[in-house]
Amino acid sequence: MGELATLFEIFAFIALSSLFSFGGGNGQIPVVQAQWVEPGLLSPGGFSMALAFSHLTPGPKAGFVAGVGYYLAGVPGAVVAVLGLALPTCLGAAAVSHAAATLRRLVRLVTPASGFVLAALIAAAAWGTAAPLELGAVEIITIALVAILVAWRNVNPLLLVLGAVAVGGAWSAAVHLLGP
């Protein structure tokens, strides 16, 4: 695929993913997973790392699409990914400002089910990220514990990612120093 085609694809699919963000959920995650991770164009590690960076940096979490764009097509990929996020949001803001009453009726119809649909999309993205990793029992139990902590104990994702980076960094350093 040519570079321009790749950039257009990044822009188009990130823009499309905004439609899955009704009610505020991060609809970009399942789209990125399905469009680039599943076909092997983006490694699950790169996807996870982009998400991790977005939890460590300020501003909207959706900024992780810049990391995805970078891994796919360098700095131009990061820029078009951000534009893919910004332009539909801009259109949405203008549309809602102009036609609040009409759109509110449509959104009111869709909103009660949006959390359930989004839950399925995010869970499927998690499944799709986990599937290629050949996880063992320890990793699966850890994933379950993390999910429980996030869902029921409202653990701050920033602390979770910082902890993972610290533990993983120490492990990487130990392997580097002591050998595998």
């Binding site: 810049a66 803001a93 400002s97 009660p112 869970a123 869902a151 492990w171």
Partner: protein, 194 residues
């Protein structure tokens, strides 16, 4: 809501304000409300407290990340289309630049080599975070009773369908359509509920 109600505010000022907000807030829109109020209401005087509260609710009506939607609404109110785009880009630019920098430093080759253990631990944490977020979406839904059971059933069906290979986009649109038919809004639900 009217566009360009306060044309004296320059685009550079809009960019500077939202770059500042984007660079100094963590945890999403709801966690940033005090900062937003401090900057947009108290310091800059671009909005009243009530206007900001209204826009926070209206931002949930836009199919896009809420924080960016809020930026777009405030920008559009101040300077129309250009204001909206400026505010959104300003809000996301600091985080996106740092994420890009991180991605540039942590190349995929490193993730397969020297940083493979860190890659595994971070991936496990992110997968757990995603599953936790999915469960949180279910738990935080205000829908109750039999409609909630229908919703959980819809969620499980969609998840299974995607895992067995149904295209995500098809599953999502069918999910929203079926959900809108099965899980109707409560008769007393507020119009702008997000």
């Amino acid at each position: 809501m009217t566009a360009a109600r306060t044309p004296r505010i320059g685009i550079v000022a809009v960019m500077r304000a939202f770059l500042g907000i984007g660079a100094t807030t963590f945890g999403g829109m709801w966690a940033a409300t005090r900062k937003l109020e401090g900057d947009l209401v108290d310091r800059l005087g671009w909005l009243t407290r009530e206007e900001l509260q209204g826009l926070l609710v209206v931002s949930t009506l836009i199919p896009a990340p809420k924080f960016l939607s809020l930026g777009g609404l405030v920008g559009f109110k101040i300077r129309g289309w250009l204001g909206a785009l400026t505010a959104i880009v300003g809000l996301i630019a600091p985080g996106a630049a740092l994420v890009t920098l991180g991605a540039a430093l942590v190349r995929p080759e490193l993730l397969q080599g020297a940083l493979a253990p860190m890659n595994t631990v971070v991936s496990v944490a992110i997968i757990g975070l995603l599953f936790g977020n999915a469960v949180h979406q279910l738990r935080s839904s205000p829908v109750r009773g039999s409609r909630r059971l229908l919703g959980v059933g819809l969620s499980g069906t969609l998840f299974a369908a995607i895992v067995v290979g149904v295209p995500l986009i098809l599953a999502a649109f069918v999910g929203f359509a079926v959900g809108a038919m099965l899980i109707r809004p409560a008769p007393d639900a507020p119009e702008a509920a997000g």
